[in-house]
């Protein structure tokens, strides 16, 4: 378990936060430049907070009051960098050996053969890092870190420098690491779907502060995270079950609370559970169902709340889960909307984005 409360200043940037991670795998989510990497570097011992503490399994890695600041090589905290940072002068095999051979046999949690097999890198051992593809490099970097037997595995946007196709190839390996090695992991990313692919437990950061932590749906619906959620198009997130695919009409149908929703065609297997997201500005409200319209989803619900924010109105509709619709003041007036009314939420199928499975 990781428990930290720290303050770190670098130039004009101040990182301040408290975080307790008690899940086997947690995510740390936030936009670029919010301080995620700095927080990770502090945990690994590469950045030095001015105040606070970092405890791992009850052992202080850093404690300003007790003047403890373990150097990185004595923390046993593994860090996988965004751009792998393999040693260019060593072969893949020697890269894998680097941390492994510094351990006593009793300290080694995994054998070379197991990691090589798990990450499918056996055919790369004799190569130099420059002869590897981006995806292969990240797998080797992951293997190198795992073989150093860390007590906590930190992953700093390990997929950020890969293109979409490669990401899809690497993600299953990360899942295998999660499921087979039982190593505590903290995965940081500015891509929410990468985190959700591995874990529903996450902390959210913005501007050097940790805004909240917990299960995804709870965190994302907290009021003070709404601003961030809005900027990322995550105001509305539903957990749905995939029902069927109709490739002929380019449509996937999912079940949500006895409603059927029509979404863009996906490749998720029928029966699987996934999260989908929709911007509040992509939701329209109507008094009655509307015929002859291209909008594919019309879901009835009860209007819970109308909030005027500057020049717009944020309407919260209960359709089994709260849905936020952002409309103009004029639109709210024209329909004479009032709390308690029954309204139909209109969602274009193609406005939904898939976030990933819980």
């Amino acid at each position: 378990m990781l428990d930290l409360d720290l303050e770190l200043q670098q130039g004009s940037f101040i990182l301040r936060g408290r975080l307790t991670l008690d899940q086997p795998v947690s995510g740390l989510f936030g936009p670029s430049g919010c301080g995620k990497s700095t927080l990770l570097r502090a945990i690994a011992g590469l950045a030095h907070p001015q105040a606070g503490h970092i405890h791992l399994d009850g052992v202080p890695l850093f404690d300003a009051q007790k003047r403890i600041d373990l150097p990185p090589h004595r923390r046993r905290v593994g860090l996988v960098f965004q751009d792998s940072q393999l040693f260019p002068h060593l072969s893949v095999e020697h890269n894998l050996h680097y941390g492994f051979k510094l351990l006593t046999p009793a300290q080694r949690q995994f054998t070379l053969a197991r990691i090589i097999d798990l990450l499918d890198i056996g055919h790369l051992l004799r190569r130099r890092p420059r002869h590897l593809s981006g995806g292969e490099r990240q797998r080797v970097a992951l293997g190198r870190t795992l073989l150093a037997s860390p007590r906590l595995l930190l992953l700093d946007e390990p997929l950020a420098s890969l293109d979409e196709g490669l990401k899809q190839q690497i993600l299953p390996f990360l899942r295998r690491v999660r499921d087979e090695l039982h190593l505590p992991m903290l995965y940081i990313s500015h891509a929410i779907n990468e985190i959700l692919y591995l874990t529903p437990h996450l902390a959210v950061m913005e501007g050097g502060r940790i805004l909240g932590q917990g299960p995804f749906l709870e965190v994302i619906r907290q009021d003070h995270i709404l601003g961030l959620a809005r900027s990322l198009g995550l105001e509305n997130v539903l957990q749905v079950t995939v029902d069927r695919h109709d490739p002929g009409i380019g449509c996937t149908t999912v079940q949500y609370n006895h409603h059927e929703l029509h979404l863009p065609l996906s490749s998720l297997p029928p029966g699987s559970v996934t999260w989908i997201a929709l911007r509040a500005t992509d939701v329209a409200l109507a008094r009655h169902p509307i015929a002859d319209i291209t909008i594919q989803n019309q879901v009835p619900g009860r209007l819970l709340d109308l909030r005027r924010i500057a020049d717009r109105v944020l309407a919260e509709v209960d359709v089994g889960a709260p849905i936020l619709a952002e409309i103009t003041v004029k639109a709210a007036n024209d329909l004479c909307l009032a709390e308690g009314d029954t309204v139909y939420c209109l969602f274009k199928a193609r406005a939904w984005q898939y976030l990933g499975a819980p």
Binding site: P71, F87, L102, R128, A148
Partner: protein, 233 residues
């Protein structure tokens, strides 16, 4: 008109002396050059600007000045020179060992500059990766920083060797121009140009100097290319 390419014993002596002094000079500054270059590239410490300036001073001073300072300091009458002689019986002034000291002083900044540049180019996050994998600072230095700086270190060594071969001003000021002891190639060439009928000898040694310089450049290029292949650049 062309002179015979056969070297006289006297010319051969100058050649071997130059090579001997060059190799000793290179060996002498290798370790401190690497340490200083790394220090200036990676470590912040008080008085760094002063150290930086002192190291580079021989590069910008007329070579006679460091030579004269060496003579004042290490000559028989100098404070350090007298101590060396009385305690250990060591004489540096007007000996080939003194010539090694003089050319080492002149070559040191070149070595330091090459190493500093090479260390600066080593990605600091590679060193951080090594730290998180469990390697202490010294191990990181030996297994990551130094191997990755190797092309620069090699360039520095070749430059230092070449500088030593060409050293004139500081050497002649500190250890004079003693045949068989301190008369290296440049000093011999200069001497031959000053005596009647010395043109043939001077020309032969000029050719030798050019060949040596080319060989040094070739070795440096070869080493750099090999290092780059190993380092994967």
């Amino acid at each position: 008109m062309w002179p015979s390419l056969q070297l006289t014993p006297e010319e051969l002596t100058a050649l071997w002396l130059s090579l001997k002094i060059g190799l000793w000079c290179t060996a002498l500054i290798a370790a401190p050059g690497i340490a200083t270059g790394w220090l200036l590239a990676r470590v912040r410490f008080p008085g760094k600007a002063i150290v930086d300036g002192l190291v580079h001073l021989p590069l910008v001073l007329p070579p006679v000045v460091p030579g004269y300072l060496l003579l004042l300091l290490l000559g028989r009458q100098g404070p350090v020179g007298r101590w060396l002689y009385e305690m250990w019986g060591i004489t540096l002034a007007f000996t080939w060992q003194g010539a090694v000291i003089a050319s080492a002083l002149m070559a040191f900044p070149l070595m330091v500059r090459a190493v500093r540049l090479a260390v600066t180019l080593v990605e600091p996050r590679l060193e951080e990766a090594a730290r998180t994998l469990g390697a202490g600072p010294l191990r990181v230095w030996l297994t990551v920083t130094i191997p990755l700086s190797l092309p620069g270190i090699l360039t520095g060594l070749v430059l230092a060797f070449a500088r030593s071969l060409g050293e004139f001003g500081a050497t002649v000021t500190f250890v004079g121009n003693v045949a068989g002891e301190t008369r290296t190639l440049p000093l011999a060439i200069y001497t031959y140009t000053q005596i009647p009928g010395g043109d043939g000898s001077a020309l032969r040694l000029v050719i030798i100097s050019i060949l040596l310089a080319l060989a040094a450049l070739w070795v440096s290029e070869l080493g750099a290319r090999r290092a780059e292949r190993v380092l994967g650049k």
